[in-house]
Structure formats: C-alpha cells, structure tokens
Symmetry: C2
C-alpha cells in the first residue's frame, strides 16, 4: 500500500491527506520528525521536506505540489465533477495560485513560525534548536494571521468556494493550514464570520473530520477544534 510520510502539524501533509481522503484512496501513514534529518528519510527526499509519498513499487514523490499534481493526473482526471482541479487552464491556474498562497506564503508568514515556536521547539532536543518560544516571532506571526484571515474572508464572500464554483485543491490547502492554526487556538472566528461559514462547510466533510480527531502529544487543542459549531 502507498505510504505517506507526514507530520500531524505540517499543513502540506494535511493537504495531501485531504486529497487522498476526498478521493477515497487507501494509504498508510508514517510520522516523521523533519528536524531529525534521518538519513533514510533524506534518501527518499534530499530536500528533507514533508510530505513524501512512496507507492507499492517504492517509487517516491516528494512535496505537496508534486504529489497533488500526480494525484490529479492519475486519479482526479477520472472523477468528473468531483475532480479537485478544474478542466480549464485559467481556472487551474487560479486553483494553483491559491494552493501556493496557503501552503507557501501563509506557511512562511504564519503557520511555520507558529508551529515551530509552539510545537516543534517543545519536542526538539536543545542541540537541535528546542527550547522556549521566541515571543518576537510569535508576535509577528500573530499579526500576519489577521491579514491572512481577511484575505480568506474576502475570498469566501466573493465565491461559492475559494477558487470558484467547485470545491478544489485551494479549499483543501486553506483548510489544511487553518486546521493547524485552529488546533493551536490562533484563529479569532468572531472577527471573521465569512471565513467561519466557509470553514464550517469544510468541517462537515468526512475527509477533514477524521483528521480533526487526532491529537498531538503534549499540546491540547482548543475546545471547539473538532466541533461543527464553534
């Protein structure tokens, strides 16, 4: 069976899991601590990033973009109106732009700094950079959350789904990042009613509900984390 190397607090890993679950694809999970830079893991993916997808024939795909394009070519193309990338090249471009927005720009501005400071540093040994969170980094990232939530709210208000009329990779990428931040209690839903309405729709999907039942060692999620009503 296909194995997905992932970390539960990696938005890119959650994104690929959501795609696999939306398409009803069976796979095994292997948790990887990316800061350990294990030699066997670097042999699979010299970039050392998550997620990594290894199929039955030990063929390896590395990174959320590479894996999601592969899944579109091998699975999505057969799914008709449940396909998560559009047919039209311009619509595909808009879906890809937003996917990149949530998994790269938001990752750098918000998700990765907050996850590193609040989760990874708890689990890393001091020799690898573990220790107390840096309050300046937290402050900057928390300011950035607000801007990103405004943009998400604006997209939610302008379109049925984030990239257009249909659920797409853009929604799954945003849900992946938002669910990580919501676990950590970093999202003010009162301030963002339109984004909240969109996330409620996402949360009602079975693909995301299984993800929301998982807990990270040593970090308790906010009380509403898995609730449809929040």
């Amino acid at each position: 069976m296909t194995t997905l190397y992932h970390h539960p607090m990696s938005a890119a890993s959650r994104f690929v899991r959501l795609i696999l679950q939306e398409y009803g694809y069976q796979y095994d999970l292997a948790e990887e601590q990316p800061w350990e830079k294990r030699r066997e893991f670097l042999t699979l993916n010299p970039a050392g990033t998550l997620p990594v997808y290894v199929d039955d024939n030990m063929r390896v795909l590395s990174g959320a973009t590479v894996i999601s394009e592969f899944l579109d070519e091998t699975h999505g193309v057969l799914k008709r109106d449940r396909r998560l990338l559009a047919e039209d090249p311009f619509q595909r471009a808009e879906i890809r732009r937003l996917t990149e927005w949530f998994l790269e720009k938001m990752e750098q501005d918000v998700t990765m700094p907050l996850v590193r400071e609040r989760v990874f540093k708890l689990q890393m040994p001091p020799t690898m950079g573990g220790g107390a969170p840096d309050s300046k980094i937290l402050r900057t990232a928390r300011n950035n959350v607000r801007q990103h939530m405004k943009y998400l709210g604006w997209l939610s208000a302008s379109r049925p789904w984030l990239a257009g009329d249909r659920l797409s990779y853009a929604d799954l990428a945003a849900a992946a990042a938002i669910s990580v931040l919501d676990y950590l209690g970093e999202i003010n839903w009162q301030e963002n009613p339109e984004a909240k309405e969109w996330y409620q729709r996402l949360k009602s999907r079975p693909s995301i509900r299984t993800l929301l039942t998982e807990r990270i060692r040593g970090v308790t999620p906010v009380s509403h984390y898995a609730d449809l009503d929040f």
Copy 2:
C-alpha cells in the same frame, strides 16, 4: 501581446523567459523592482512575487509554477518531442521535484540571499533595507553553493539531462538559477566539471543566449558570463 513582469536577477523570471523562448512565444517584458511593492503590481499579484504573466485579455497568472503549468497545458502539449514536461506522470513528478529544488530550495539557500545582499541592497533606498551586504549571510550562502553544485554535478553525471533523457523544465530551472549566480561570479567551474559540461550544452541554446547578453545596472558580470568556453 502577453506581458511578463520580471526582474533580470530573479531566477523564477528567467525560468519562465526560457520556457517562452524555447517555445518561440512572443512577449513583452516589464521590469519590476519587487521591494517597491507598487500598488498596481500588488493588484496583479497580491503575493508581490515575480514573475507575473498578463495576457491580451488582461488575464493574470502569478508565479513560476502556475505559469509553467499553464504553458505546458496550452503550448507544451502541442510540441511532441520538444515538450518540456514529460507525458508519464512519474517522469512529470521528477521534473517538477527538480524544478522546485532549483527555484525554491536553492533559491532560499543560495540565490535569493546572494542576489539580495549583492544586487538588491545596492538599488534599494536605505529606508527599504538598502545598504552594505551582510558578510555572515554571504558566507552561509557561499557554503551552500558548494552543496548545490555537487548535487547538480551528480545529476549531470547520472543522466543525459537533469530529469532524464530529454531537455525539460528541470534543466531550464537549474540554468535560470545558475546563470544568475554565474553573473555574480559565485560559481567555481573548475571544481564542478560535470555541471560545467551540462551548462555548456545549455549555453549553446538560443533561448539562453539572448538572456546572457543583458546587463544589470551597476553590477558587472564575470568575464566568461556569456562565453561558451569558460
């Protein structure tokens, strides 16, 4: 005509120009200083990154990945054995993995720090971060160049072209980054004979030769920059 917003020292911009030139596509160039964060430019691409592609109908595509996938879907697919992405999904994945390697990992480890410290800081006003280069950042980036050149050399020695038997996006992405670094004299070709042999083949292509005739204001390239013999 299509307009490409670019910067001459942006590897991602060079990558898209190389694709357009390999496919014989006519386009206009508009130079953008990304640190200025011009309001009109942010309207085109809220992420503020280069390149940005605007077609005749004012439809906008942002970012090298989005643009290159669009060009494959609208042009590459018609090019048969001159197509720059493969047909097979696993080969496409390998081309995308390496494209991302050169335009994202190498960009963060090497290209962007060196370009920012050595070029952008010369042109930026002090209020936007201009000034003298930071020698610690230069030292770290120069150490990283060596590792990246080893990987490029290993790929060049193992395969006819970087991702397999045919010229692909992977070669153009690598050439885009390497040509920026070579302009700045940051590459030791003596230490990397296999990468050199690969780059000589790239340099003989008309798509890259036009790029190598351009000069950046205030920064002189190394003497061998545009030469086939270096």
